[in-house]
Structure formats: C-alpha cells, structure tokens
Symmetry: D2
Subunit: 306 residues, 4 copies
C-alpha cells in the first residue's frame, strides 16, 4: 500500500521490427498506438486505457530493456525516489516525453541487474467504449488479444537483494516462494503490489538482467485454449501448456515471439490480501509448483532466458 | 489504500434456522464452522481462510444485522475509529469473542441506516490445503460452493451521506454510478476499497437499512451455469440470470434463500485501479447497466428488499 | 437410419434485404456465398462445408419459405419420395440449379402446413482448412459465428399428422414431448434423425405453417455468453436467455433478426441413441421444460411466431 | 447405418482389484453397479442409462479383455453375425447373463488380434433423473465423472484387415487417417459408426491385441481442466495434456490407471456426417495430428501400450 499500482509498461528488444509488429498486432492481438522518432513501436492491449503498455525496438539481441511500474501520483513518485535513494539505490529521472505520451520516469537498477522505472503519468486514451453507458465488450478484437500486461518473471544472481528492495522500499508483499532443499535459500519469489497473486517474480540465476517471460492476462480458460490454437495455427513455438500452475493457481500457456522472447498468456489465480500467509514450495516439489498437472519441469523452461 | 481490506463477515436473519443451515451447507455449499451460545451458526466458503464470513441467526424478519469489513491491523482499526469520530460518526467497541474466533470490532451506523463493523482479527483456519506445497483444488466441494463473500448492495435514503462517509473516511473509491435524468442525483453508487470493481453498492431508496442482496464470488461462467442448474434442481427461486452486468461487466445470477433474502452468485468483472475514471450510467439506461443482455429491469429486482 | 442426414438448408423471408445481409454477415457471423438472379442471398456458417445452408429473400412478411433436409444419396431421395407418395403425400421435384450449387429437390407439404424439401447434392466448398493436415480453427470469424444450421421449431394445428409423417415415413425418432394435462394430446414433440437431441420440433398451434425459431449451433457456453453480449452491443432484441433448457439440456439464447424472425443460438445437449426411452414433460411443468432455470415461460416466447 | 450404435461395454484387466475399484469410483468418478461370482466389478458413468459400461477383473497383466459394441436389436445382431461369418470371420455366442444384466453377445477376433463383442440387450437402470419432468443435472457426482465410455485406440499389425472388416462388414466410416511418407500405408485410422468423429481407432503396430487407450467423454474444456487438477491432486500419472487434438479437434488429457492402463478423458470434436470427405494427415505432421498445440509426440505416448 505504498502507491505502486501495477506493471504499466515494458520495452522489449526484437530482432526484426516489422516482423515483430506483424506478430504483436495480428497474432498476439495488441493495438499499435504509435511510433517515435527513434523507431520504437508502441502498443496497448484492447482493454487497457493508457496510451501504451508495450514498446518494442529493433536490436541485435532479444531481451527486455526495462520494466515500468505505474504509481499513484507525483507525490508517490517523489516519495519512492527518496526512499530508494535513502536505501542506497541511485535513481535517474527520464524526462517526460522520452516515451510517447508518458510523463517523467524514475529509473533505477535492481540488484539482479534489471532496469526498473516508476512513473505516474501516461495519457489515457481509453478502450474505445467511453465512460457513459459503455458497452461491455470490445468488438472485432484480433488474435490472442490479452487484457493487459500483467507481470514478469526475471532472473538474476542477487535474488535476495531485489526481493528485499521490492518488499522493504517499494512495499511489495511476498506471496509464494520456492526454497532450496536445505531451506536456506529462496530460489524464486513471487511478489505483489496489489491483490494480484503476483506483479513480479524473481528467480535466482547467475545470468543477471535476464528475462524468463513477460506475462499478459487472458479472460478465461477458454481463451487459454484459443491462444494455444492460434499459436499452433500460426506456428508460434509453444514452450509448455495449456496447464495449471501450482503457484498462484493460474492456468497458462508459454510460447516464444519471433525473436525468442518467452511470453506467457494466462488467466486466473487467487486474490492476495495482506492477511494471507505466504505459500512455500520445497525444491523437490518445484515441478508441481510450476506445472501442476505433470508435476515436471522441462529443460527448455529451466534454461532459456533472453 | 486506507487499510480496509474487504468484506469480511456479515450476519443474516433467517426465519428458520435449521432449514437455513441445510440450505447454506447442502445447496449453497458453505462450510459450517461453529455455533455460539446465542444459537448463531457460523460458515465460511471452502476457499476462505478465516474462521467465518457468514453468520445466521433465527429471527421473525429476514434482513441483514450488520456488514463487517476486515482491516489491516490494530493500528488501522484505531485510526479509522478516530477518523469516524472526527467525522461525527459515533462508534461502539464490541468486545473480542462476541463473535466466535473474532477480535474486537468497531461498530457504527451509516447515514443509510446500516450497521457496519470494522475488525482486524479473526482466527485463520485455512482452506485445508496447507501452506507448504499445497494442492490447487479443494476436493469434494458441495453445491454452489462460492469462493468468498464478495460484496453487498444495500438501500437507504441518504445515499449521499453513506457514499461520502465511505469515500472520505474509509478511503473507498467511486467506480460506477447511475445518475438521475436531470443529472443531479446519484441513484446508485458502486464503491471499492481494493482492485475489485465493487466491495459495496448503495442505492437510493426510502427504505432505510435494507438489503438488496449479498454477493458471493464464483470462479467462472461455467460455475454460474452450474449455480443456476443447482438452484432449479433444488427449487431455489431465481430472480434473474444467468446474465451479464453492464456495471462491472460481471456475469451473475440472483436468487432467494428460504427466508426471502436475495443473494447473488457471480464471477468476473474488470479490475479497478485508482487511475481509472469512473463510469456513469444515465437513468434511462439503467436496464442495460444492471442486466446488459435484455437491457431491462424486472419489477421484482427493483422492489424486493429485506 | 433411413438416410435423412440433417437440416441442410432453409429459406427465410426478410423485410429489407441489404439490412438483413449486413445483420447476417457482420453481427450473426455467416459467410455470404452467393446471390442468384431472383435476388436471393446465400450464406453458410464458417464451419459448414456445403455451399449454402441459409438463404434469404426480400418479402412483405417475415417467416420461412421452406425447410430442407439433406439425405444420403440419390437412391435415398428416390426411396423417400416413393415412401411419401405411398403414404399419401404428394411430392414435387424442383430442378437442380434452382437453388445455387444445389441438386434436384423433392418438395412436399406437411400436415402442419410447412413446406419441406429433401435433397442429396450440394457443392462442397469446404471450410477453408483443407483435407490434408488441416488446422483446427478457422481464424478471423466475425460476430456470433455459429457452427451450423441445427434445427427448427415450427408450429401448426395438425401436430399429430406431421409427427407421424416424420416418424413413420422419414424415420425420425421421438426424443422428448410435452403432453396435455389430461395426457391425451402431444402439445410439442422433439424429433431426431441423427444422434442429436433434436433435428426438428413441432408445436401444436392453430397458426399453420409458422416458424417459432430457427436454431444455429454454438461451440460452448462461453460462446452463448459472447452471443448475448454481441446481441446487446448491437441492439439485437433478445427474447430470453442465456438459459438452460430442461428439454435436451442445451444452453441457449433466443433473439430476433431485423425482420422479427426469432432465432436461437445454443450449445450442448445430450446425444440421442435409439435405445433411449423418450422423456415426457407434463403441461404444468412446461416452464421448466423450456427454461429450466426460472421454470417460467414468458408471454412473448409463447405467442410470437412468423 | 448398419445398426451398430456405439461402444457399449469393455472389460479391463487390473493388477489389484480393490485399489482399482477405489480409483475408478473415488477419483475417476464411475458408479459401481455390481459384482459377479467370478469377482468382476461393474461400473457405469453417472449419465449412462445401461447397467454397466466398464468391467474390471484382477489379473497378472494389464490390458483389455474385450471391446463391446451395442447394436440396435436382435435382428441386427443376427444379421451382423451372418455378415461376419460370410466375410470369413468365425463368431461365438456368449450366453445371456454371463455378464451381469447383459443379453447374448456375439464375439469375434479382429485381424489385429482384439476380441470384439456385439450385443443388443442390457438392463436399463437409468441415470436417476427419471423419464418424466427430469432434472437436467445429476447432483453429487464425484471425481472426474465422465459422461460415457466413448471410444478406444487399439494397436495391431494387420491394421488393413481390421479397418476393412469394420468398414465393409460393420458399416463404419473412415473419418481421418495418418498415411506413411510414401503414401502407401495407413499408419492409423479413425472410424465411426455414428455422428461422432470416432468410435474406434486402429494404429499399425507389431504388438497385436494391445490397448493404447480407452476414452471417456467429458462435458467441457473446463471439465478437462478439472480432470487434470484431480489427477495431479491424486497423483494419477498424466501422460500428456490438457491439449487439443488435430485429429477430431477434441480437447483432451491422457493418464494412467493404477495398473498402467492408459485412459483418455476428453471433450469436443466435430460431428461426422457420411457426406464428409475424410481428413488425411501425413506422417511428418503426425505430431500436430495428435497434439495440435506443441505439434510433437512424446516417446511415452508412442511406445506404451497394455
């Protein structure tokens, strides 16, 4: 309850811009909302109201440039920046307008090497249904068409550092964790700043500043099936799923974009409230924690990051 | 973000206790968790973790005795009591233990005549799955088996007073409203203290301190169908549904318990964040606001309260 | 098992052709497949393989011109024509090509006044997925997009005559019926020529040769919801639903096309096998038979036919 | 249309009878309907009307004893026996009562080594809902609770022989097939005697008289998820799924019973009509044919039979 609202935007590196634009609009089903002078392309989900939540830029390597959280207001932004600085984390102010239709951002690097941003201002463009007597469905959505950018799973060595930073400074809550066999190490943690079961997950991994997956929300288990069908019909390589998670109870499918970035489209999971005790998974049950049905991890899921 | 978590418990008057216990366990699918010396019977939903969320007592008239919100902790409880008093609302402390397994409660009456309670302490009994390597489903659930007590719609004359109290003192946000044809009056407001589309709704109605419905959450639209099927098979009188709401976008069914108390079992709806503009419905579109498919209200829905 | 396969085509009268074409393609989600010299417009469902299943023509009154069943082959067509004639039913041969891409049809009038057709030949155009290594989903379907023309409910005085004709000559089976309070009259019968719970239903009604509704199949209960949402968003007047039927166990929604013709879009229902005993509904339970949830019929459903 | 209705009963060998009874009632969700003097235990699905569809007996090896199809009536049984004999297939009459509540059976061995049975008489016990004003749902179903025994996939060397026997003598239709790279061999065929996409599948495999899986029908994709959840919660080893088939378009999950017999619980798939052209899959697309999402077969699915 420190004023961090949700994952708000994220910037992904892709190997071929136009192929990716085609993928993210026609198959993944996002709405292109703009391009900037540096060549970046901006998207939002059909049902998101802010101008953009997902930005891609062409690069030689895949991966995520930065991870942005929207916060409540200017005062919250200032307060969190001060708190970060007092905690020993240097911050940088990115001027308004550097991202299209987006206000000033406070940027910092977490101990796991990832670049995070906080911002409070982004132009509201709406979902097209209006605010007076709205319809309840957006017609003519294309492709997989997720509801919103939902969370990320990211990897780095100093999981403890990033975990503590998010809990102690940004006010996140620990919801679930996987602990090592000796009980001494958190191998992975799921953290929330809301009533979602997770807004971000950190996994202990020597490969700093890496992305395991970015995740987008679907409406129902039927949409998970439709997503899987669309992936196969369009030869999008599926990593695993449809399947249920033990962690969060969500139902999901993982696949790769044309640049090899893993994404998740999922739905469901319980609601978190701060009076909940966190769940603990032991290392030997990691399979069930991630893929509840088969209770087994696959090698690709464990090893591929960008 | 003032520390009110969610609707936590509520006490309903029923005309025949044992008939109601049978209804709420075998058909509605709650778990009986205790009875107290005054004869009250306590229930929780299968997936709730606190000892009780729903209490019934036998009485000559149907209706709701009180509406309880769980708050974050003792400090929050004290702060909110002070805030209420400063706002001019008298409060009463109900001692711990007056409700089974429940700590001290701060009670006050809202301008619409309803009795509310705030509390922070209730014994956690869990959902039976444990906190280490849990399963993701609770087996052998019976009947409709909702997930949780979710919200209430309640009626009274001074809607403005209750609305302002909840927004200004308890920190709720306005999510949707229906306004009168001349635009001068709020006829109904939907308020949230979380990211749910509503934790409570007030409707302007001369009949103070009345209950339109209490609402319980289901998992999916398939569960809404199953709920409707079970209602018919058990001759539970359905008011309306299955249907989609315009307001909140939820999908729902309304019916009556053996005492004539209306309940809702629903699922879905968007997530609220404080950067959302509220939706406004005009009086002439009230039908679509409530029952999006037929765009018409029925007389019974408009007139029956307890 | 006499070789009548299924409802194959039907020709509807509409009051405004272009408005109806727009409705049936953009909102209802059929594929226009042709127009003939008389101005008729032909459609198929996305997932149907024959050239057409639904034909509209402009006229001064709404209603159905004829009801066509596809049969197995030429020999079956000849045999059934002979059987009809021997039963005392005159038949007429409509030459191949009178309907686009459709072979010779055998036409007759049933005792309830409805014009039926049998045919075996219609050009296969496929569903676009091919017959070698097909994909499993058709992408970019629009609107409600049902799977197939499924059945009709039609009204007339001599229900007994039409019922016996379909059972004794065309080899249909009785699956369900509603009987009058005195048990002497069938008020409605559901008949099948396949393993569907119904391919046609007759209702006793003085208004001969009338259509209660034509019915199209959806895939799931989620699609029933989507259909209802699309109807409301496009101001298609809904008669009733989403709801479960007692009869057949299907889940459904009824609405009206721009000309006032009632249509049903539904899914589900049990499979019929000839070793099943038929179900009987008594007149006093007719409400539950049709609308299982509310167990009540509405006046409009009982009275409006075209 | 030769009068073979559907897979009606099947007898499975299990390694431990009581463990299997517990599995098939409490987890799989069948209803035990009787035991005979030889120790066999009989089951039906909740929604089946005949006395039994699934019989188990204790043995040293897993696998299927026989595969039974229900036919229309005594005349059909006699006719099919004659046709089999004329085709060169010897038959044996098993007397009525040898299986509980089951009439005389005609038994023969197919070229792939499997023992088949035809019968027309089995005591109807109903689904408990009655035939007058029935409810539409069976309450208090337990476990996975499939709707019916649906089909089998069985392996043997002389696929051509069994395929031709089923098509030429028993009147089945070819719906889908996988052909070898050179196009000369059917590697697998899916055959139907109804409007189901398959009532039986044969796969070319040197291991004669083996069972790949028996399959039971679920109602919806949500039930497939629930089945998968129940399997994991009860440590039923899952082979693969939830997943979509390319062949038949069904959605499914495969798992193993305590004796290592593979079963499938699935839903969906298109309806077959005899005017449909069969689908052909080429050997290189066998992955997508079976598991449409990942487009890959797993080794266990390819090799394990009982």
């Amino acid at each position: 309850m420190t004023g961090v609202l949700r994952p708000g935007h994220t910037q992904l590196r892709v190997l071929n811009l136009e192929e990716s634009v085609k993928f993210y609009t026609e198959i993944f089903g996002l709405v292109e909302t703009g391009r900037d002078v540096s060549g970046r392309v901006y998207f939002k989900c059909h049902d998101e109201r802010d101008h953009n939540s997902f930005i891609i830029r062409e690069a030689d390597t895949a991966g995520m440039d930065f991870y942005g959280f929207k916060v409540l207001n200017a005062a919250t932004l200032d307060k969190l920046e001060t708190d970060l600085n007092e905690y020993g984390v240097p911050t940088e102010r990115i001027p308004a307008g550097e991202l299209l239709e987006t206000g000033e951002r406070v940027r910092f690097t977490a101990p796991t090497g990832h670049v995070f941003e906080l911002y409070y201002d982004k132009t509201e463009v709406g979902d097209g249904l209006g605010y007076v007597n709205p319809e309840v469905i957006i017609q003519n959505r294309k492709g997989i068409s997720p509801i919103r950018l939902d969370h990320w799973q990211i990897h780095g060595a100093d999981l403890d550092g990033s975990r503590d930073l998010f809990i102690d400074v940004l006010g996140f809550s620990l919801v679930e964790k996987i602990v090592s066999t000796d009980g001494k190490l958190d191998l992975a943690v799921w953290l929330t700043c809301s009533t979602k079961a997770h807004d971000i997950a950190f996994v202990r991994d020597e490969r700093n500043n890496t992305l395991h997956h970015m995740s987008f929300l679907l409406e129902t288990w039927d949409h998970v099936l439709k997503a899987a069908d669309l992936m196969s019909a369009n030869r999008v390589p599926i990593d695993l799923g449809p399947v249920r998670h033990g962690i969060t109870r969500g139902t999901t499918i993982y696949a790769f974009d044309p640049s090899g970035n893993r994404f998740e489209t999922f739905c469901g999971g319980y609601s978190f409230y701060p009076d909940m005790k966190p769940y603990t998974w032991t290392e030997d049950e990691m399979g069930a924690a991630v893929f509840y049905h088969t209770r087994e991890l696959n090698e690709r899921f464990l090893t591929v990051v960008t």
